[in-house]
């Protein structure tokens, strides 16, 4: 079986600019929906995956408030570039992350869903922003399963439990589950499901599959620690 990546998929999230450190003029604050005063707990689930796999769509499908976007500039030294002053050449990549929110438990809990880009070069960002997540839903597209490997690697190294949901796009080839698991190198216990990120119920089911697994995973870990 061949999982050839799509040729020259455009990097649509990043903007790469020379780092200037310049601050723009104070912009008008964007409208934001306040968290109801009933909320006493919040939780976070991360939605990860390669470019264009449906992260923003899934968050938009399930969020009860208008999804918002944050931007984190990350500075990266370009290796091997040297100018006359011997200063390392730096570029700033702006990483966009969108997020939504669901209120539950009679308004006592706010569940935040964050779309994080799955590229391994964003590892420092992950350490900072994914910490404390209940778990992660990894979206994958069978036209480019390799695009999921970075996200899976980040999660494995951060010790964040995850489930994988295959988004079906027109023209996505379908493979038997065993082949998908093998191609993604999934642990036998890791849930593998399908979802249409454009559909609210389908997206919720993918999140439920993840959360059921997290809850079993947690029970197993608790038992293990009591041995």
């Amino acid at each position: 079986m061949d999982f050839a990546p799509l040729s020259d998929r455009a990097d649509r999230t990043d903007r790469t600019d020379e780092s200037t450190g310049a601050e723009g003029a104070d912009r008008a604050d964007r409208s934001v929906t306040y968290v109801p005063a009933t909320v006493t707990r919040s939780a976070k689930i991360v939605v990860a995956g390669g470019f264009g796999v449906g992260k923003t769509t899934l968050i938009g499908s399930v969020s009860e408030v208008r999804p918002l976007r944050m931007e984190e500039p990350i500075t990266q030294a370009s290796a091997g570039v040297d100018d006359l002053r011997g200063t390392p050449h730096k570029t700033t990549t702006t990483v966009a992350m969108d997020f939504g929110r669901i209120h539950m438990a009679g308004g006592r809990i706010a569940l935040y869903l964050f779309g994080l880009p799955g590229q391994s070069r964003f590892q420092p960002l992950w350490e900072d922003l994914a910490e404390g997540a209940l778990g992660c839903l990894v979206l994958a597209d069978t036209r480019d399963l390799d695009a999921s490997h970075d996200a899976l690697g980040l999660l494995d190294s951060a010790g964040i439990p995850y489930a994988v949901a295959i988004n079906t796009f027109p023209g996505s080839p379908s493979y038997p589950e065993a082949e998908l698991r093998e191609a993604l190198a999934l642990d036998p216990a890791t849930p593998l499901t399908y979802c249409d990120a454009r559909d609210r119920t389908s997206s919720l089911h993918a999140l439920i599959t993840l959360t059921e697994y997290l809850s079993e995973h947690r029970s197993a870990a608790l038992l293990e620690s009591r041995r």
């Binding site: 780092s19 450190g21 104070d26 912009r27 604050d29 964007r30 409208s31 934001v32 929906t33 306040y34 968290v35 109801p36 005063a37 909320v39 006493t40 707990r41 919040s42 939780a43 976070k44 399930v62 918002l68 976007r69 944050m70 931007e71 984190e72 500039p73 990350i74 500075t75 011997g86 200063t87 390392p88 992350m97 997020f99 929110r101 669901i102 539950m104 438990a105 006592r108 809990i109 706010a110 569940l111 935040y112 964050f114 900072d128 922003l129 910490e131 404390g132 209940l134 119920t201 919720l204 089911h205 999140l207 439920i208 959360t211 059921e212 997290l214 809850s215 947690r218 029970s219 608790l222």
Partner: protein, 117 residues
């Protein structure tokens, strides 16, 4: 000179937050804060912008909401919010003692998601 001391991302949050260089561990992207009281005239410009967001608000905001509303990097907002909690300008809506273990939170989230379909 070379190395991280020249990195603008290392310098900027320090300048912006008047001393704090690291966020509190309990201040994460999803952490919700509410406004307490206190004079804001000694605060830096970004901290004042954060406090202005809460003027007249009848609820809280998560760190991520603040970052999106003010178009500031979430890593910077985590530090700003940490300082503002240290100084008592912001506080957590959760009682100081968090008596609910994580397992219950997960069960509540699972129940909550199931109730939506």
């Amino acid at each position: 000179m070379s190395g991280p001391r020249r990195d603008p991302d290392m310098v900027r949050p320090y300048v912006r937050t008047q001393g704090r260089i690291r966020a509190r561990e309990d201040v994460r992207l999803e952490s919700v804060v509410i406004a307490a009281t206190g004079p804001t005239d000694t605060l830096g410009p970004d901290a004042r912008r954060v406090m202005r967001l809460f003027a007249g608000a009848d609820g809280g905001l998560a760190v991520a909401d603040i970052a999106a509303a003010l178009e500031l990097p979430p890593s910077t907002v985590r530090i700003l919010v940490s300082s503002l909690m240290d100084s008592g300008h912001l506080s957590s809506p959760v009682a100081a003692i968090d008596d609910q273990p994580d397992f219950d939170l997960l069960q509540e989230v699972l129940r909550g998601l199931r109730s939506l379909v």
